[in-house]
């Protein structure tokens, strides 16, 4: 049986304490929310934090409320199942609700949290393997700093893949993320939380705690999410298209955000497609053109399930279908 390495388990009662413990232990400490990403990784010895800080007893992370201005604020510890069944979400955030439903399996959604999914580790078929398997390739640079990247052996960087279903759509929606640090709270745009590196894929400081995500108030925009994977359950996206379009009253697109998940180390903007959309109405021709323009940014690598070239070739189809869902 795969078992967890030993660690000291902390259960702070508020965010300030949690951050304090994390700061105190530095690199030895990791937060755990639902545990569905961290514990498998620990069992495979990807991470072996000596201090695990559970957020289960931090009440402010469990709340969910519609703010006075209509925005929806969701605590990081809200489980994916709770979100999935939240009527307000289904009614006003269909694209995001769909993305949540697409995450893994119902059992893992019962345990996994929105905060955990937003911070999901990047994935790679040379990395997400047992310790013994990785031992047999002398590990890769995501496991061991002096090792190579096996998917691109000449590369100075890690190409592990952004694999969260919620990230592309919340980035496209321009949701806001609240972080608690030693100096208090700060709020950033979702896009700003991520960067293009398979190892250091987050911009936040290690001890900074993701406390809340705030979705924009319902309005003249519509978001969608479309996921490519082998099976309709379990699998991570090998392409996850998050799209959000803002419409003028006459249907003209005022702003367009398209993010491609599963196609790089962060949810990459399909800028050329976005440009084509803005100032126009969402016709079938425009959708096809915007889809076609997404082929180039889809920077697929041969480190996920399904064929690398195929994933790139069907990206336009998926982008087009995601846009269609915004109609």
């Amino acid at each position: 049986m795969l078992r967890l390495p030993t660690f000291t388990y902390h259960t702070p009662k508020n965010a300030v304490d949690a951050v304090r413990i994390a700061k105190e232990h530095g690199k030895e400490a990791m937060y755990v929310a639902g545990g569905t990403d961290l514990y498998p990784n620990m069992k495979r010895r990807h991470q072996t934090p000596a201090q695990v800080i559970s957020l289960r007893d931090v009440p402010e992370l469990h709340s969910m409320e519609v703010l006075a201005d209509g925005r929806l604020q969701i605590g990081a510890m809200v489980t994916l199942t709770t979100l999935e069944h939240y009527p307000h979400l289904k009614a006003h955030y269909a694209g995001f609700a769909h993305a949540v439903r697409e995450i893994s399996t119902p059992l893992l959604r019962n345990m996994g949290t929105i905060g955990g999914n937003l911070l999901l580790d990047t994935r790679c078929s040379y990395y997400d393997q047992s310790h013994e398997w990785r031992e047999s390739i002398d590990f890769c640079m995501k496991s061991k700093s002096d090792a190579i990247c096996w998917v691109a052996p000449g590369s100075p960087r890690c190409w592990a893949v952004q694999s969260s279903d919620s990230v592309p759509v919340v980035c496209a929606m321009e949701a806001e993320i609240e972080l608690a640090g030693v100096d208090g709270l700060r709020t950033i745009k979702a896009d700003e939380l991520y960067q293009d590196d398979g190892i250091v894929y987050l911009t936040k400081k290690p001890e900074e705690l993701l406390t809340k995500i705030t979705l924009p108030a319902p309005g003249n925009w519509k978001a969608s999410y479309l996921k490519l994977r082998r099976r309709d359950t379990y699998d991570f996206p090998v392409l996850g298209v998050g799209a959000c379009l803002w419409f003028a009253e006459d249907g003209t697109i005022e702003k367009a955000n398209i993010r491609l998940g599963g196609a790089g180390s962060y949810a990459m903007p399909a800028s050329a497609s976005e440009k084509l959309l803005v100032g126009n109405k969402l016709t079938d021709e425009l959708i096809a053109a915007a889809g076609a323009a997404a082929m180039k940014p889809a920077r697929t690598m041969d480190n996920t399930d399904l064929d690398v070239y195929w994933r790139k070739k069907v990206a336009p189809v998926y982008v087009a279908r995601a846009l269609k869902a915004c109609q």
Partner: protein, 841 residues
């Protein structure tokens, strides 16, 4: 059930073994329990969580063992230092290759494995050191402290590489270089066959390997006890073969001091049919430490045990008449065997054996080659070796039908192998219900109305229907090691309490073999199967049964159980006849009673009847055994393929293909299976539906995927299996064409229905979007690539190069030439050198 007249047979005669009345001609309404949807004997414990699998067992002072496995795909071990591991607190025992120098293997011709590699590692995962400690974590940690130095050797990663490189050699046996086996069998006159063909075509197919993935990871608990006897509880499908391997490696410990208990298998599918390193190491470790030792493999290690579907490259040349009659079939198979022999010799023959059993093949030439490569060893997976060629043949027939403009279902119906016949390669067909199977699925699916219509769904996907058929054996005609003893034995004990206990060496892997014993004995003795006590798979207590493989259990243990039960019934009947003063032939055993057929009120309960008989003859115990009928094939290599009977399956699969991406789904499957007789239709349905599921997994996604990106060679990447969301609606038809060799006419059902699924999916994709995928799995990417090729005006196909490119250059030598039965052949090869007859043990 009405008693047969016992005077017509003498159960004590040795001949009775094979001509006992298997009651295949009994009418359904004459049967009390057979065919009824009775609960399995172990159902209650399984739904209560009370079934104890191997890893559920614990013992006082038990140690936990882990194996350190090779990180190299191919290397010599130059240095091994266990001193740091020995020093770790909690470590109680360490074994290395030198502790178990005797090699073993499932087949006598391939004794090529070591419990721990002494000096040569052949794949990533090959075990080197075993460490037992008080906690599993300490054993794992200790493994990480072992220093191993390797001298790397060039890796062999494919059949092409193996054919081209004799050095470095993986093994010092086999044909030559890295060729493990070469077979070359020719039946009839190929030249004439192709000359008489109106149409000939040649195709190349590739079937990627895949693995069983049972939900239970293999586990074993070994205990060398105070009496100097060894007991091992293990999740094995073949306790008898494990017993033999243990006796061999642990010599001088005699076999009669070794007890193997097969725990209920949490899924097997062929993956637990070999004796494994971890089993032997646990036994040896318990002898070394004097403590119980448990080993429970991780999922990664289960992948390394593998023994799954061989990757096979196939080239098939077929000649047909205008009506699709197969005048000649020339079939080549090239098997990527992985690092060890395992069942590979049998696998190689099986890629050529059953092509002739579904449709009549007038002339047939089979050439098969198996190669050693530096990958986890391949072996038997559900449908063992016959799955890959079935894919090739059924897709090729679909193309033939297309070429000739004949409906693929009609082409198959018109060319069925005749029932009660002998095939070109001397397989004896008994009952044959394939025609009925085809008719059922054609009717049920609306084949005639819907095929070729390219219906479009609301969301723009295109529908297609594909058909395919298959056949499978009900147990191998020959045992794995040469001997003249029965393949299956059953012992029965009747007690004055009315209890009937059945002892049999068979192993329940979920297919219901324990229940089969209960149903058959219950039917013969007229008692409730759930009242019967079934004791199985314990080499100390139960007569030998060879194991749960090759779909042999229902037919072989069933016949043995029937014989034992009939003998018991005869004893009881004699006693009751005397007591009631009624002729024994008039007695009926039913509803828990023994009574006079003419005066049903004259009788007694079964319990009383046993008491009456016990008073007259003493303690009641009987035995039954079964040996399959002699094969018609007498040529070398003719031992693989013969079976007491063959099951038949036909399927129609519906697909919906997204023309923009190649992504397809399978919304519905119609499957008809000729089972001979369903001993329990509900349980048989479960086997059919499970086969559909596993077949669809193989068709859509499952592959033992390796990538050779590094100098270090091959390692398993991923193996996706379908979830319940991929499982289609199924319409299942249980076709009953009783076979005289089966108990109550029963044939196999556990493997056969898997075979036609993959080719039916490929054929359905063609029906939908007009492209051929000559490669399994038929994954989305391949459908897409074939559609792109079509779009670009190229051949609308995805698969291995259609010509000779990529076909390994292998000299198969001269073929063994065998005249077909219709040429007046007698089953021998006319050019075979005289074989010296091996003495039977």
């Amino acid at each position: 059930m009405v008693l047969d007249d016992p005077s017509t047979r003498d159960p004590s005669s040795p001949e009775a073994r094979n001509d006992a009345p298997w009651q295949h001609d009994k009418k359904k309404d004459e049967l009390e329990h057979i065919g009824k949807p009775i609960r399995k004997v172990d159902a209650r414990s399984k739904v209560s969580g009370l079934t104890q699998f191997a890893d559920d067992l614990t013992m006082p002072r038990m140690l936990h063992m882990k194996l350190l496995r090779s990180t190299m795909a191919h290397a010599e071990i130059t240095h091994l230092d266990i001193s740091k591991a020995e020093a770790l607190p909690g470590v109680k025992g360490i074994l290395t290759g030198k502790d178990m120098p005797t090699p073993f293997g499932i087949l006598p011709v391939s004794q090529d494995e070591h419990a721990l590699c002494p000096d040569h590692v052949r794949f990533v995962g090959d075990p080197i050191v075993a460490i037992a400690a008080t906690e599993e974590e300490a054993a794992w940690d200790a493994c990480r402290l072992v220093d191993v130095d390797y001298r790397e050797l060039r890796t062999i990663g494919s059949v092409q590489e193996a054919a081209a490189n004799d050095e470095p050699r993986l093994h010092d046996y086999g044909v030559r270089g890295n060729i493990h086996r070469l077979e070359n069998l020719e039946f009839g006159d190929m030249e004439d066959g192709f000359k008489r063909a109106d149409h000939t075509r040649e195709d190349t197919f590739w079937f990627e390997g895949n693995t069983h993935l049972p939900m239970e990871q293999h586990a074993s608990l070994a205990h060398f006890d105070k009496d100097g006897k060894l007991t091992i509880w293990s999740s094995t499908q073949t306790p008898h073969y494990l017993h033999r391997a243990l006796a061999r490696v642990l010599h001088p410990l005699p076999a009669n001091r070794i007890r193997v208990i097969a725990t209920p298998n949490g899924g097997g599918f062929g993956g637990k049919s070999d004796p494994f390193n971890h089993e032997i190491c646990a036994a040896k470790m318990s002898m070394l430490t004097g403590r119980p030792v448990k080993v429970a493999l991780t999922r990664e290690e289960v992948f390394w045990c593998h023994r799954g579907r061989h990757p096979v490259l196939m080239r098939s040349k077929i000649g047909v008449s205008k009506t699709g009659r197969i005048t000649a079939l020339d079939f080549h198979s090239f098997l990527d065997g992985g690092a060890y022999g395992s069942y590979g010799t049998a696998s190689t023959f099986y890629t050529g054996a059953l092509q002739t059993v579904t449709y009549a093949v007038e002339n047939y030439h089979f050439r098969g080659a198996r190669f050693f490569t530096n990958k986890a060893p391949c072996g038997p997976k559900r449908g063992h070796g016959t799955v890959q060629p079935r894919f090739a043949l059924e897709v090729q027939l679909d193309k033939v039908a297309c070429d000739l403009g004949i409906d693929p279902a009609k082409l198959r119906l018109d060319n069925l192998a005749p029932r009660e016949s002998v095939t070109a390669n001397y397989l004896r067909i008994g009952s044959m219900g394939l025609g009925a199977c085809i008719e059922k699925v054609v009717e049920g699916s609306g084949w005639n109305e819907r095929r070729g219509k390219k219906e479009v769904t609301k969301d723009g996907r295109i529908r297609g229907l594909g058909i395919a058929c298959s056949s499978y054996l009900s147990g191998a005609g020959l045992p794995i090691y040469w001997n003249g003893m029965p393949h299956s034995g059953v012992q029965l004990q009747l007690d004055r309490s009315g209890l009937c206990t059945v002892f049999c060496g068979s192993t329940d892997i979920g297919q219901g073999s324990d229940s089969v014993l209960g149903w058959i004995v219950g039917e013969v003795l007229g008692i409730n199967p759930l009242d019967i006590k079934v004791v199985t798979s314990d080499t100390d207590l139960t007569p030998v049964d060879l194991g749960s493989y090759s779909s042999r259990v229902t037919v072989m243990t069933g016949n043995a159980a029937m014989q034992a039960a009939e003998r018991a019934r005869d004893i009881v009947a004699k006693g009751v006849a005397k007591k009631l003063e009624v002729p024994a032939g008039r007695l009926v055993f039913a509803e828990g009673r023994v009574f006079d057929a003419q005066e049903p009120d004259t009788g007694m309960t079964f319990m009383e009847a046993v008491g009456v008989a016990e008073a007259q003859v003493g303690t009641i115990g009987t035995v039954g055994s079964y040996t399959p009928p002699k094969s018609a094939a007498k040529f070398r290599g003719g031992g693989v393929g013969p079976s007491p009977s063959y099951s038949y399956s036909a399927t129609v699969v519906e697909v919906e293909v997204d023309p923009e991406t190649g992504i397809y789904s399978v919304p519905k499957v119609w499957m008809a299976h000729d089972i001979g007789r369903a001993l329990n239709a509900a349980v048989a349905m479960g086997q059919i539906e499970g086969s559909i599921y596993m077949g669809l997994g193989e068709a859509m996604m499952e592959e033992m995927a390796y990538r050779d990106r590094s100098h270090k060679g091959q390692r398993v990447f991923l193996h996706k299996i379908p979830s319940m969301l991929e499982m289609p609606d199924c319409v299942t038809y249980v076709i009953e064409d009783p076979d005289k060799n089966g108990p109550f006419g029963a044939k196999e059902v556990g493997q056969g229905p898997l075979l036609p699924i993959m080719p039916a999916v490929a054929n359905a994709v063609f029906d939908a979007v007009g492209v051929r995928v000559d490669e399994n799995p038929i994954s989305f990417e391949k459908v897409f690539a074939a559609m792109q090729a079509k779009h670009e005006g190229k051949e609308p196909r995805f698969g291995p190069a259609a010509d000779e490119t990529g076909i390994p250059d292998v000299n198969f030598g001269e073929s063994l030439k065998i005249k077909t039965p219709w040429q007046g052949g007698d089953g021998t090869a006319w050019n075979e050198p005289k074989r010296t007859k091996k003495a039977k043990k």
